[in-house]
């Protein structure tokens, strides 16, 4: 230590600390510990939110971008946790969540200046997810709304943004300029194939083909680069994949069927599901002695019984 270094050393800079944490995040992701990687990002966002409260105005822009970065890294870790299972592409919740996470992380990480190597590391699962969804479900249809806005209020000076000098997205003494929409009136909703927000997508399980109707289609999603103050959440896989096991043993046989669903099934649902799976997969009893089936019963979307065979589970 030189004579010039004393106890009042301010410690690593904001960007140095962010870089160290990003390296820790990357090593957790490489070790496929996605939950810990997401937790690290959530904790880092919470730390950054606290730091902003006591920071000087000139530090706030840098802290803002740190927050955006770790929101993007949390999204990537959650996305990787979601697509790590082979059956994600067949599971409606997982597909929807993966699609949203892919676009959230893409938007956040693309807004930052990162090294090419790190950007590729983060965004390759994102582009892979988007390609996989488009390959299986097509390029998709999206909602696009048309609204009439009475005023666009500038968050810096409080007057209509059309008559002030502040530029949305620019920083003014530690405050980010934004436009707050006032007096908003929806005019129409269009179905388009090239939306502004790719998250507003219609999914096949939200369609009622018989009556040519769609339901549960997002029209507008409130998305901020910097995410929520609580740092967001580590993805709960049990809310996405069927994870409640109900076992069925037919009388006078040695057979055992495990059915994975979003909730515990009644005996009637269980029997129907097993029967449907056996018929659907043309299973002969001689082929197996135990089997695990997956069904979407209990999910928000697929109340109709739609089962698929899963790997035999010896546990």
């Amino acid at each position: 230590m030189s004579d010039g270094d004393h106890l009042d050393d301010p410690g690593p800079s904001i960007s140095q600390r962010a870089e160290d944490d990003a390296i820790r995040w990357a090593s957790l992701v490489e070790g496929e510990d996605f939950a810990s990687a997401a937790k690290l990002a959530v904790d880092k966002i919470c730390d950054t939110v606290r730091e902003v409260a006591s920071s000087a105005p000139e530090q706030r822009e840098e802290l803002y971008w740190v927050r955006v970065l770790f929101n993007g890294l949390r999204d990537v870790a959650n996305l990787l946790a979601c697509i790590h299972r082979d059956d994600w592409i067949r599971t409606p919740y997982a597909v929807e969540r993966a699609w949203t996470l892919a676009h959230d992380s893409k938007e956040r990480l693309s807004s930052l200046t990162l090294t090419q190597e790190f950007k590729t590391f983060c965004l390759s699962p994102v582009s892979g997810t988007i390609a996989a969804v488009n390959e299986r479900y097509g390029a998709g249809l999206y909602t696009s709304w048309e609204v009439e806005i009475g005023a666009l209020i500038c968050t810096i000076c409080g007057i209509d943004s059309r008559s002030c000098v502040h530029i949305p997205g620019e920083w003014y003494e530690g405050v980010l300029c934004r436009q707050r929409v006032d007096d908003i009136k929806p005019v129409a909703i269009a179905i388009v194939d090239e939306p502004r927000d790719m998250r507003c997508r219609a999914w096949p399980w939200n369609s009622d083909a018989k009556n040519a109707r769609w339901h549960d289609m997002p029209i507008f999603l409130n998305f901020d680069l910097e995410g929520p103050d609580d740092g967001g959440q580590v993805l709960d896989l049990t809310s996405i994949f069927p994870s409640v096991r109900t076992t069925f043993r037919p009388r006078n046989t040695n057979m055992r069927y495990d059915v994975m669903a979003y909730r515990k099934l009644s005996r009637r649902e269980l029997v129907d599901t097993v029967r449907e799976c056996i018929a659907q997969h043309k299973l002969e009893r001689s082929m197996y002695s135990r089997a695990t089936f997956h069904t979407h019963i209990g999910s928000k979307y697929w109340d109709r019984r739609s089962a698929s065979i899963g790997p035999a589970d010896d546990s």
Partner: protein
Amino acid sequence: MDKLAIPDGALDGVDFLVLPQNADTDPIDKLRETSDGVDFAKHLRSQGKSLRTAYDFNSEMKVFDRRAADVWLGALWILNEVAAPVLVGTLLLWLNSKFQGSKRGDVHLELLVKSGSKFGKMKFDGPMNCLEKLLAGFDKSKVSRGLQRGSSDNATESNQ
């Protein structure tokens, strides 16, 4: 344009107008600024360009926002012929940064250029690369001549 009730002399020294589409034909209560037009006007102002928008003449003017990948700019009026290449250059740069290399989405705009006491009008609906090709007609020699004239005017002013 009379429908906007622009006061006499309000356009003196103004190079551009960013107005709703059909501002020259539709009644004022049917006119809406586009959100992209508002953003572009703010961008022009931040670049120090001399312009007016519909909001400058009518603070009750509402904004129409369509959440699609397309960009709706409304009508861009060029009042000063010499400034045309500057507007076109700024517009193409702004659109390029908005699309960020993405091929999704079209551009919709009307371009009106004043020549003497008349206006020439062009309506465009199509992809960005087509717009670039069309506007390449504002050839470089004229652009540079326009810019030189602008800078020599400034130099003259500053010498006075």
